[in-house]
Amino acid sequence: MSTASERNPPLAGNVESNVRQILADVLSLAPEIVAGIAKDSPLFGAIPELDSMAVAGLLTELEDRLDIIIDDDEIDTEIFDTFGALVDFAARKVAG
C-alpha cells in the first residue's frame, strides 16, 4: 500500500528539477555538469559561471519561472551555499 506522500510526491521534488533546469539555462552549464549537481554540491564560489551578478540574474529567473517574489531581506549568500539550500529556499517560497 502506498503512502500519501508516495502518491503525491512533495512539491520539493518538482521544485528541484525546476531549479536544476533554471541553473542549467541561466548559466549554460554542460549537461554532464548539471546532472552531477547533488544536494550538497556547493554553488556560489564553486561554479565559475556563478558570480554575484549571475546570482542576481538567477534570483530574477527563479522569480519569473517559479512565480515567486523574493524580498529584499531574503537576499543572503546562504541561499547559494549548496544546491540543496537553493532548492529548499525555492520550495519554501513556492509553498508560500
Binding site: 554575484s52 546570482v55 542576481a56 537576499i75
Partner: protein, 228 residues
C-alpha cells in the same frame, strides 16, 4: 570581410566612440547596447552579430553611450543616453536606411523614432529590474566580502543622502538611481519585432557561453524581417 572600423560619430552634442562593420551604403543597424555589466557580458554576442550581419551585406554601428566603454564622461545621465542614441539614429537616417537593434537595457533607451524598424531581443523589463539586479549583486558581493548580511535599504539611504553608490563596479548617483527606477520600456514609434529566439542568456553569465549560433539566428531572423 573588411573587419571592424572604429570612429567617433556625431550624435547631437555628443561624440560616440563606435565600432562600425559592413558596407558604407545600404541598410545600417544601430545597436542600442545593454547597460552596465550586462554590456560586458554581451560584447562577444554583439561582435558575432555584427559579423553575421556584415556577411549579409548589412552594416552595424555599436556606440559606447556617454560614460560607458571608451566614452569618458563622468557626469552622464540617463537622458543623455537616450538623446545621444536618438541623435545617432537621426544622423544615420539622413543618409541611409536605418534600423535599430535593441538588446536588454538598450531597449529601454529608444522607441526607434525616425528609423525604419525597431528589433528587440530579450528587452529588459524596466530600469527598476536592472537596478534591482545591480543592488542584489552588490549585496551578495558585500556579504561575501564582510561575512555580514546586507540590508538592501542601506543603498537607498545612501542615495537619499545624496551619495554615490558603487554597484557591481558602476557608480550610481541618486539621479541615475531615480531615473532607472522610473524607466519603462517605451511604446515603439515604428514597426517592431521582438524576437523569440532560444539562446544562452549571456548577459547573466560570468563566463558567457558561445554565442555564435545565437548571433547567426538573430541575423537570419533580422534579415527575413526587414525584407518582409
Amino acid at each position: 570581410m573588411a573587419g571592424p572600423r572604429y570612429d567617433c560619430l556625431d550624435a547631437g552634442c555628443f561624440k560616440l566612440p563606435s565600432i562600425i562593420r559592413g558596407p558604407d551604403s545600404g541598410p545600417v543597424v544601430v545597436i542600442a547596447p545593454p547597460l552596465f555589466e550586462e554590456m560586458n557580458r554581451c560584447r562577444n554576442l554583439l561582435a558575432n552579430l555584427g559579423r553575421a550581419l556584415e556577411q549579409r551585406q548589412i552594416a552595424t554601428i555599436l556606440p559606447d553611450l556617454p560614460g560607458s566603454g571608451d566614452n569618458v564622461t563622468s557626469s552622464a545621465t540617463l537622458p543623455d543616453w537616450r538623446s545621444a542614441f536618438a541623435a545617432l539614429v537621426a544622423t544615420c537616417v539622413s543618409v541611409r536606411p536605418t534600423y535599430v537593434f535593441a538588446l536588454r537595457g538598450g531597449a529601454l533607451l529608444t522607441d526607434g523614432g525616425g528609423c525604419q524598424g525597431l528589433y528587440r531581443y530579450s528587452p529588459a523589463r524596466s530600469g527598476q529590474s536592472l537596478l534591482r539586479d545591480l543592488v542584489r549583486a552588490q549585496a551578495i558581493a558585500d556579504q561575501e566580502r564582510t561575512g555580514d548580511k546586507v540590508d538592501l535599504g542601506d543603498y537607498d539611504t545612501e542615495w537619499t543622502k545624496g551619495h554615490i553608490v558603487r554597484l557591481a563596479g558602476y557608480d550610481i548617483n541618486p539621479a541615475m538611481a531615480a531615473a532607472l527606477s522610473a524607466l519603462e520600456c517605451p511604446a515603439p514609434a515604428v514597426k517592431l519585432r521582438t524576437a523569440e529566439i532560444d539562446g544562452p542568456a549571456v548577459w547573466r553569465q560570468a563566463e558567457p557561453a558561445d554565442s555564435t549560433a545565437l548571433a547567426e539566428a538573430l541575423a537570419a531572423d533580422f534579415v527575413a524581417w526587414i525584407v518582409a
